[in-house]
Every structure is written in structure tokens, then in C-alpha cells.
Subunit: 424 residues, 2 copies
Amino acid sequence: MDFASILIMMVTLIVLAYAASAIFERFGLIGLIGEIVIGVLIANLAIGDWSFLGMLDINMGDDPSQNYEIIELFAELGVIFLLFSIGLETKVKELLSVGKAATLVAIAGVVVPFVAGFALILVYDGNAHHALFLGAAMVATSVGVTARVIKDMKLINTKETRIIIAAAVIDDVLGMMVLAMVVAMTATGGAASDIVVISVEALVFVLAAMASALWIVPRLYNFFEERRKKKVAKGKGASKGIDKLILAIAVCLGFALVASQIGLAAIIGAFFGGMLLAEYAPRWKLEEKMESITALFISFFFLNVGMHVDLGSMTSLTVVLLSAIIILLAIATKYVGCSLGARLGDKSLTKGSRDIIGVGMVPRGEVGIIIAAIGLASGAISSELYGAAIMMAVATTIIASPLLAWAFRKKYPPEYEPAPEELV
Amino acid sequence: MDFASILIMMVTLIVLAYAASAIFERFGLIGLIGEIVIGVLIANLAIGDWSFLGMLDINMGDDPSQNYEIIELFAELGVIFLLFSIGLETKVKELLSVGKAATLVAIAGVVVPFVAGFALILVYDGNAHHALFLGAAMVATSVGVTARVIKDMKLINTKETRIIIAAAVIDDVLGMMVLAMVVAMTATGGAASDIVVISVEALVFVLAAMASALWIVPRLYNFFEERRKKKVAKGKGASKGIDKLILAIAVCLGFALVASQIGLAAIIGAFFGGMLLAEYAPRWKLEEKMESITALFISFFFLNVGMHVDLGSMTSLTVVLLSAIIILLAIATKYVGCSLGARLGDKSLTKGSRDIIGVGMVPRGEVGIIIAAIGLASGAISSELYGAAIMMAVATTIIASPLLAWAFRKKYPPEYEPAPEELV
């Protein structure tokens, strides 16, 4: 392994991403879009012969270079730590209180885009396999982008945020089932029984995590706290106890691992890991501690989203037009589906709140990219459709961020401080 | 890249390292030794067929597995961030104030072990190449271990600490010159002129870093601070300014990179990067922020030191005896050389202070391992001597930690709070 070349890459990318983010924010734009744009530029310029960027040795083709694999690793760790941080500020009771609304948001947000994507491609080229996969790619919601906007705006403790997060969790479970069905139907391996198995696994995981947060973790905490108090009472001098940051890191990565093993997104696991410790996070100062770690990695996530864009594939007018239609459809259907679900699920939500929820679910991010990649690898979609799906995943991410920030600001002006009754 | 297998590896290693460290500390031992021991166990058991550890997919042979390369990357990042943190708490004036003592400690600490190691191997097998390389491996000081002990004991602001750190910097420059000479003399590439070039580069780097810390950085800071104040005075509302954590990470990695490019250890560069920001670290809360990042990575460093031990090579009595003699000699000569240097360099140092300095310079850690590996790769030493050198690097690390903690505790009892006059 060439450590020096990894150091060059890390320093260059961290500085470039930060500079782009700062410049975008200077002009009133969303910082993460600057990071995605830098990713697009790097991936599309480095493939040429610009010697300085050539030093980065980023090769994303069939034989990904080691440096690119490090970027992917850091990207994945970054978004895992980000969702863990969101989990740290989300109590399970708050999540359950929005259960009905979130479920309807998720279901409508899955059905509407899938049907629309399926119909579009069926009309476009008549190939049902193509249509199924593109529909599946349009279902995915990447909550990483929304989470970053929410975190940057310090609006984690709003009802809309909780609905979006809960809906994203359910959406991920549903999306996984859709993907399993699509894979089975396009006969690239996998059977109907698989769908049942992974759906049950995912459900058990989510329920077990919530039950642990409600009943097991508090009991464990009280047990150790009692023991510590008894020791102190006996004059034995309390041991310093387990290192809370190491505990948090282990829980975060462990939950991400289990989730990814049963077919859920790793970030969904990390979110539940954070929720498990939400009750104790403030007194253990976990948010501040995790924030530094997240800051080291998170830019790689947005850079990496941008790096998947291959501008070279946007040469034919058909592809450009198709991509544009898919992008518009992806935004419209997710927004319509989710805000409709919100209206059905919770009558008390205002138009402003439904807008936030509808827009917040739009970004497809890395989840859409992963699904498109599975389709391409299994031969179920053409490379032309793959390119369009990637453009859709990246464009929804870029377009949704400022819309979400704007929708949030409309309801919660900068001087907003949450009132206790809004936190339910 | 198999992300799930990297997650399994990370979680397993972080938990095992923490558990070992906690158990060792419970029995009054130094935590990092527990981490090294776990490293030895993993490397030597995983090579067998224990299926659970087999999952870790750690292969350190000729074809290192990707997981092992990730461990090495995290190990290197961990010790870089650790030395950066030490730098953050070291002001350049404090470092210069111990310049004379540190220089003599470093010189005596290089000459004595080199001559002893060279003589031993010349007597043992009469091969001058072998003797030169083992002498060079015995010169190296790995300040990472000492830094961790000092940091865990919260004794960064003592005079002894400053002398050790400054001497380790000079030692690294000297050690690099010794290695360059040895490589040139064993004719494995490299010429006498190279020695001059890299020595000059190293000297320029160190002087430039110190000059920047003294004159350039304060002027830059004042410039931006003035500009910010003027803006506020004009009622323009201050911009939030550059993100201090990102700045710190970029400086840390950037300095590590430059140092490694000119042949110095990356950790020495990171230390100087930290020193550059030492004046502003408290108000920017950089120590706390870097501590979380270091905590994520640093266990990999100590695990990795242990993983280099190949117990399988310790089968012949000759190798075991030779290793034992080299270990004893490595400890004795570094201790004698450095405490002698301390006595010559600063008459005001007590016996207790000289003991701390002598013991603090003993660990050879990863630097000794790197030099031995260069010797093996170039064919200048036998695999038998390589094994012995690795054992020496690891054993000095393990043995020095408790001795250092004990020597520090003798002078600075647990209730010690530094008096202002001691901080000069």
C-alpha cells in the first residue's frame, strides 16, 4: 500500500471539498452540493491526463484503484457516522409517535415512483426487465443527504425530521423488498422465498432494535449504575467505567454491520445504533465526540456521489433527454407520493410540513446508485439506462438539498427555537 | 472491496483492543501492552484455522490482504493524529528551550546503540552488512508509544516530556541519516550524495516549521483577526471563518505527507503540524476534537505492532537467545546513552528526570520494524536477524511502557499539578 499517495489524496480531497463547500455557502448555496460538484469534476477530469489530479490515482473502472477504494470506505464510514449521530438525537418514543404518518409516507413514496418509473421505461423501450429495475432505482431514498441538511440547519428535533427519518427507515425495508422481487422476477438469481426471508429478517431487526432501546438498554444502564453506586457507598472508589466513545463506535459499526448482513442499508443500522444510546448521549457528550469523527469522513461521501457521474456518457441527445425526464419524474413522484402519505397519515400537518416531508424524501443518493449497479452487473439494464439512473440519483440529491433547506426555513426561520409542544 | 468484512474487522479489533486494554489496566498494567498482546495473538492464531478469526481475513505474508492493509492505514493515521495532538500542546519556544539537552540526548542515544548493535552482530556472524543494519534498527526511537503513555498520564507539560519529544525529533533526523548511510554502504542503491540531500531537506523542513510557528502563523492569524474585527466594526457581521477542525486535519495530514516525502517519519511531520497550531489550539478546542478522531484509530497502531511478531520464527534456541541479547542491549544502550546525554546537556536535571528521559527513548516500535523490513527486502539482513530485530522493536515497546509510567509516577505523583515554574 502506498501510504504517501493515500495521504496526498486525503489532503487534496478534504481541502477541495471544504473549499467548494465554503464557496457555495458564501453564495447562499448548500455546501454539500459544492462537494458533489467537486466530485464530478475530479472524476471526469482525472480520467484525462491532468498530471496533478493524475497523482490522485483515482480509477473507477473495472479495476478500481486502491485509492478509490479508500475513498469509498471513508464515504461509507462517513455516512454511517452521520446517521449514527442523527440516531443519537432521536428517542425511540418520538419515532413511534410518528409511526402512522411515517408508514403512509413510506408506502406512498415507494408505490408512486415505482409505478411511474416502470410505466415510463415500458413505454420507452418495451423491456419489462429494464422497467422493473429503473422502477426499483426510483424507489430508493438516501436519507444521508437529508440528514446532513437537517444537521447543518440544527433542526433534528422537529416533527418533520422525525417523520422523514422514520419514513426513510420503512422506505429502506420496502425498497429492499422491491429490489428482491425485481431481482427474482428478472431471474438473475433469488427466489420468492428469499423475499420472505429477508423481509422477516429486516422486520425482526427493526423491532428488536426498538425493543432494546425501550426496555433492555435502560435496564442494563440501571444495573451498572446501581452497582457503581453500591461500590461508592462501600467506599471502594468507583472504577472509571467503560469508555463511552469506544462503546458508541462499537455500537455504531456493529449495528451497521448487522443491518448490511441482512440486506438493509448499513446507515439504517447505524441510525438504530445511535437511537439505542440516545437517552445517554447528552451526559456522555457523544454528539460532540462523534461530530469530529464524522467531519473527517463525511466529505468523502458527497465527493463519491459526484464521482459516479460520467459526463462522457451524456453525449447522445436521447440519453440526455431520457435522463432529464427520469430526473423530473423521480422528483415529482417522490414529492407527490410522500406529501400525499403525510396528508393521509397525520391530518394536523400543515402544507409547509408536508412540503418538507415530500422534498426531504426526494434524494436517491448512493442507494439509487447501488441498485442501478446491481441491475447493470446482472445484465438486467443497459449501460444507457444505468447512466440515466446514476444521473437521476445524483441530480435528485443536488436538487433536493436547496429545496429542503428552503422548505425548512419557511417553517422554521433562523431564529427558531423549538417549543416543548412541537417536540412531540 | 468487501465493506462488510472491513466492518467485521473494525468492530472485532476495536472491541478486543479495548477489552484487553481495560483488563490490563484493571491489574495495574499499561493498557497499550494489552493491545499489543492482542495483536500478537491475532496474527499468530489467525494464520491457523480458527474460523472466527479467519473471518478477519488478515494475511500479512507476501500478498497482504486488503483487510490487513486497512489495519496498516488506520494504524498509521492513528499515530499521526496522536503525535499531532502532542504537537498541539507543545509551543515552539518550549521546544527550543530544551534544545541543547535534547540534542545531546539524541546524539548519545544514537551513537551508543548503533556501536553496540554493530559490534554484537560483527562478533556473532562476522557479516558487516548484517551488523550495519541491525545497528541502524537499534537507533530508531518510536515516540508514539512514549507519547501515548504521557498522554494517558496527562503529563504533556513537563520538562522531561519536552526533552523526550525534541530528542525524538532530532533522533529521527539522525536515524534517517544513519539509515541512508547504511543503505549506501551495503550498496543496495543510494549514494553518499543522497545522504547530503536528504539531511539538508530534513534540516530545512524542521527549521522552516519552527520559523513558521514563531513568525509566519502568528502574523497570518493577526491579519485575519484584524480583518474580521474591521468587518464587525463596519457592522457587516462577521463570517463564521474557516472550520478549525478541517484546518487542523489538513495541516496534520499535509505536514505528515511532506515529512514522509523527504524521508522523515510521517509522525514527526504531524508533530510539527500540531506545534504550528499550538498557540490557538485551546481556544479552538482542537485537543478535544482531535482526541475523538485519535481514539477511533490509535488501537490499530498498537495492534499492528503486535501483529508483526511471528512466534513461529522463535523455534530455534539460537534465535531466541540472540533476540534476548539484542533486546537487553537495545534497552541498556538507549537508556545509558540518553540519560548520559541528559546529564551532559542539562546539569539541573535530577536522577529521576534522567531516568524518565532514558526510559522514554527506549521504545523502537514501528520505526525499528520499518528499518528491519528495508534490510530484509534489500537482502542486507537474514530472515533470522529480521525476526530478532522485530522482536527487539516490539519488546522494547512493551518493556519501556511500564518503566516509563513508573519513572514518571515517582517524580510526578497522581495528585501532581504542574507549578508554573516547572513549565519552562
